[in-house]
């Protein structure tokens, strides 16, 4: 009989039983991928699958990059005794804030205008300090890159002793995360039959990392980038008409760029909720809109990224819906 005074034996992590001793063990890898789900109704003429990245432990595709960025900083000893500062439209910051809290480090995030309130509250709940950055704060530079400039400025302040900036836009660890996890996952999940991949311009870690991996498997796989209009309302996506191209963008793996306006992206987002039961964010709507209009061969498998869920955008959706769904007098 075990004495009550003995230290209880903890259960060990068992992925088959979905039992974990630490939330970080839920981060995906090729043996434990995020789900790939077929889009059956809104993309009936294509064989399109969405990779549901919102089922990552901190709610978005950025969990992968954040884990690699933090791991790189720790490995190189760049984090020792310093806090994190990063520019993010929310998802990278959310993952970084959660991961940083787990190792006792604080995150300051510079966040651009137009990010929904829900994301800012989530960040503050995670203990991050949120510096909202007006679009026109930096009039002599790229206006939409004010958050990046502010994060750089903070990182350089106090002789660089207080903060370290992971810099998801330029840091190759962001690309590596997708080259080592997302790309191989898609290849395995489609049994090597993927013929086209769709993702949005943003930090370009996903496009470059997945694109590079898939092109190495088969150079004829088409990598398609989605770009929003200038002044868009699709958080996470970047229009290079108004924002600087990140160092992580490798044009050699991009075959095509599709421009998507806000309205069709939001219309498609609504359809994905109502016709597919996929409660996705607006960037997924943009990606699926681009894929469905691309003229894909119905016999060939295409994969689109679903970067995050729509639950962090309900204030945007309330505007979209107006009086829809409310009782009329």
């Amino acid at each position: 009989m075990i004495s009550r005074l003995e230290t209880p034996q903890h259960l060990t992590t068992d992925r088959r039983a979905q039992r974990y001793n630490d939330i970080r063990e839920l981060l995906p890898d090729p043996d434990h991928p995020t789900p790939l789900v077929r889009v059956n109704r809104v993309a009936a003429e294509t064989d399109l699958y969405l990779k549901l990245e919102w089922l990552n432990p901190f709610g978005s595709i950025k969990d992968r990059a954040a884990a690699y960025l933090l791991d790189g900083l720790q490995t190189r000893g760049e984090l020792d005794g310093r806090e994190l500062v990063e520019a993010s439209s929310g998802n990278t910051a959310i993952a970084l804030a959660a991961l940083a809290a787990l190792i006792g480090t604080k995150l300051t995030v510079t966040i651009p205008d137009g990010v929904p309130e829900e994301k800012k509250v989530v960040l503050r709940m995670l203990g991050a300090e949120v510096w909202e950055t007006p679009d026109d704060m930096c009039p002599v530079d790229h206006p939409k890159d004010g958050a990046i400039a502010l994060a750089r400025s903070l990182a350089a302040s106090e002789n660089g002793t207080r903060y370290v900036m992971p810099n998801q836009y330029e840091n190759p660890d962001n690309v590596l995360a997708h080259y080592e996890t997302t790309g191989p996952e898609i290849w395995r999940q489609t049994e090597g039959r993927v013929r086209a991949f769709f993702a949005g311009f943003g930090t370009c870690g996903t496009l470059t990392g997945v694109g590079r991996y898939l092109k190495e498997q088969d150079p004829t796989i088409k990598i398609v980038a989605i770009e929003p209009q200038q002044g868009h309302r699709l958080p996470g996506l970047k229009s290079f008409g108004e924002a600087k191209q990140p160092g992580n963008l490798d044009w050699s793996v991009i075959d095509d760029v599709v421009q998507v306006d806000d309205q069709p992206a939001y219309d498609m987002t609504k359809r994905l909720w109502r016709e597919e039961g996929l409660m996705v964010g607006p960037s997924t709507g943009a990606i699926v809109h681009a894929a469905t209009g691309y003229g894909l061969d119905p016999d060939e498998i295409a994969v689109g990224v679903s970067p995050d869920s729509g639950l962090k955008y309900t204030s945007f959706f309330a505007e979209l819906l107006g009086e829809e769904g409310l009782p009329q007098a």
Binding site: M137, P139, S153
Partner: protein, 81 residues
């Protein structure tokens, strides 16, 4: 004859690179009342372009700029908007 500027609050951003001085100045101006004045000290040469642009965009009045070479001092009166 010089007009006396009644300074309400001072902010020294020496050693800090743009756009951090702009951001911090905007935070102070946000809590000031219309007509109150911020005396802002910067060392980033970019401030000579950024601070007047910020004041213009916010609807504040840049009362005076003193470019002392390594240091720039701005007196900004909060606008009514």
């Amino acid at each position: 004859m010089t007009t006396q500027i009644n300074v309400t609050e001072t902010l020294d951003t020496s050693g800090v690179l743009c756009p951090l001085p702009v951001y911090k100045a905007a935070l102070v101006l946000k809590r000031l009342e219309p007509g109150q004045v911020l005396e802002l000290t910067c060392t980033d040469p970019g401030s000579l372009a950024d601070i007047p642009a910020m004041a213009r965009q916010r609807g504040d009045t840049l009362l005076k700029t003193d470019d002392r070479g390594a240091t720039q001092v701005f007196w900004i009166e909060k606008g009514t908007t």
